[in-house]
Symmetry: C2
């Protein structure tokens, strides 16, 4: 953990190092993934069988080994503890409602020269969703990725998830039932992403691949960008909390640790103008490590990447926060709106002291798949738009073509493209 | 050129080969580009100097060697032929007007439990635009890429363009003046994309890189996806014309050749139910080759990738067209709306016999940067959204947190994330 003061002489150099720290994967992963993608592309299912045996100790042989049926998902759903089932349903309903409001509107109008112009949105036909296995198998992630796809209108939603030693996660199956997943395959890693992108004998290819995963999965998505659409390159996640002096250190400690407990590479940052609060929060975090079941991961993250920045005034906070362009920004101040108005780069913002980031992870409604690694400078959270595409259209009348065609002919000639010019001038003669 | 009939026994196999044909670059380009990116990342300007000398025979030494001033762009604009200047201004005004209609709306509402939810859109701070040099230096491309960035609200718009042997293109400079480009550097190739993404001593890094280029530029963008935002992976372009029997073969020949003259890897496709029209168009194209100044490129494209598909009924056309998911689709029929309604995957559609594709390249208003290589299945044309990002936000009251917090706590506990649960439960106790 680093404690920096903006008033210190070496602040700029040290803060800049934090901003530039990438916490990301290496070239060896890139080569390994590239080899796996080629194998799956060339050999299809037989490559999946080999990799799944090697990496997941799972034999793909019978239909049940390969896929999880809708009936199995329904059974997992029925078997859930009633309160947990209701919690999942509440989350799903709220996520659905928020994402329905994202559906884009078509355009279709005729301008002053009689030219019809517009754009029409439509869903992709098929989407693939990667769901991690083992400890990181989160039903909330399934809901957050699958529901926007279904709201967008995707007809075929395919999940791939590793089942190490054959083990399945009932919560994930139940979430798949709620979200209306159409197909579910028991493969994971880069090989699963390759199967979704290229297609194999068993798994028909999709148009878009989304979902979280480890470094191999993220790298596979990066390499396959352009072959299929992908949601984004996901890296270790961040929380940045901007807090005034009137905060409960126990609340803020929990907020910071809720990011740190995800992964040793996660990053938790506190910006405050109150030295006393900073000390209290740091002390509280040390206390939490004594009892928190996830202390090992959380402590490693906090020790290696944790950051507390003391500012003279909270007015400094938005600019610092923008440089970090964090995935999650909590504004725990009396007037959160004032700072929010000055903030420019963040995946999602949590306004006020009663809004812990975790409420957004599960149940508020907006997506929890958000840009990480400073990518909020240019990227957005997952939305229905990731599962849709837009077709523009143009309809000219003879009058409209007469009005602007000659200018286009002139430009085509200037660019040395005579067939372009002819295609217009012949219609005007 | 291939002529296929849907009624032939081997149609499916042959058509499938066309759909799968990728016309794209090889692994060697990937390795070359990877090396260039590393050099620019490590050595900055000095790498740019070396590559620019080697690839463009241009020495980067004085400020004038490095960049093109706003004054130089203004002078190029002032020096243009008046009609050409007016054509560029008309195009710019129409492109600006169409893209202003794309600006997304923010959301901000409070739901039935008192939870405030929403999303706020904002522009990226800086965007880089690659403009090819030499023969493919198109002022229309500059307008199509730069204007959406400015409409989105990008403050710093940087152009990189190679100037082989020092040669600049006045039309491109004039277009930069019209579009309001802020900085313009005389570097090209993968090295220019690397400079935009990583930044060098002279060129500050940007957040998004857009613009067309050769295979090296396209591969550089692909490899840097995630380091910066990129518009899309661009490949060879396509036109697909759906025509009924009542068409002028001279018009359609020009339309097909307007794509073929771009590049030998471009693809022009005609789908018609009229054998006579197909023959007339093919004959006309052969005639054009005798006089068209761009015949060499156009003939190679038509010979290698041209395709004529004879259908029994035009009702077959939308499904065939969707499999090709072409960049440009012209519907040259009496009732274009009927087929357009059945079409699902296309970059842009040109409705009716008076709408040649070239009118969209220059002046209609919608963007001419469109998904190629079957990517219209999942990708969209360039828009203001490529230069913007969305920040979601959540604001809970105590009442709202009480209403849904317990469900989130339950889910966090089920996922084995105790700090997540604590961050909510502590605020409820």
């Amino acid at each position: 953990m680093q404690l920096l003061r903006t008033s210190d002489a070496d602040f700029e150099a040290k803060f800049d190092r934090v901003v530039r720290d990438r916490r990301e994967s290496d070239a060896q992963v890139g080569r390994d993934v590239s080899a796996i993608l080629n194998e799956v592309r060339e050999r299809g299912d037989s490559a999946l069988v080999e990799y799944t045996k090697r990496f997941d100790q799972h034999n793909l042989s019978s239909d049940e080994d390969w896929s999880i049926s809708k009936e199995a998902c329904k059974a997992a759903y029925d078997g859930l503890d009633a309160e947990l089932r209701e919690a999942l349903e509440t989350a799903a309903a709220r996520i659905r409602s928020y994402h329905e409001g994202q559906l884009p509107k078509d355009r279709d109008y005729t301008d002053d020269i009689g030219m019809r112009l517009g754009a029409r949105w439509g869903a992709v036909e098929a989407a693939g969703l990667y769901v991690p296995g083992g400890r990181a198998a989160y039903p909330s992630s399934l809901l957050m990725n699958a529901i926007p796809a279904k709201v967008a209108g995707v007809e075929r939603l395919v999940v791939t998830t590793p089942t190490p030693k054959g083990e399945m996660n009932d919560l994930v199956l139940a979430a798949a039932h709620i979200a209306g997943v159409d197909e579910m395959y028991r493969v994971g890693g880069a090989q699963a992403v390759a199967a979704l992108a290229f297609g194999t004998e068993r798994i028909a290819r999709v148009d878009v691949v989304v979902g979280p995963g480890n470094a191999w999965v993220a790298e596979a998505k990066r390499q396959l960008y352009g072959v299929v659409g992908i949601d984004m390159v996901a890296g270790p996640s961040e929380i940045l909390v901007i807090a005034d002096k009137d905060n409960n250190p126990e609340w803020l400690a929990a907020d910071l640790l809720s990011q740190a407990e995800h992964d040793p590479t996660s990053q938790s940052i506190l910006i405050t103008d109150d030295r006393g609060l900073a000390s209290q929060v740091m002390d509280q975090i040390d206390l939490e490590f004594l009892k928190l079941p996830t202390a090992k991961t959380a402590k490693q993250s906090w020790d290696d990447h944790g950051l507390v920045v003391l500012v003279d005034s909270l007015d400094e906070a938005p600019a610092l926060s923008d440089r970090l362009a964090a995935e999650h920004v909590e504004i725990a101040t009396a007037d959160p709106e004032a700072l929010f108005g000055k903030l420019r780069h963040a995946g999602s913002v949590f306004l006020g002291k009663m809004t812990p980031e975790a409420v957004g992870d599960y149940i508020a409604g907006p997506n929890h798949v958000l840009p990480t690694g400073r990518r909020a400078r240019f990227a957005s959270g997952l939305s229905v738009l990731d599962f849709m595409k837009r077709t523009s259209f143009i309809g000219a009348t003879e009058g409209a073509l007469k009005a602007i065609g000659p200018a286009a002919v002139r430009l085509a000639e200037a660019e040395g493209l005579p067939a372009h010019a002819l295609s217009i001038s012949r219609r005007l003669s």
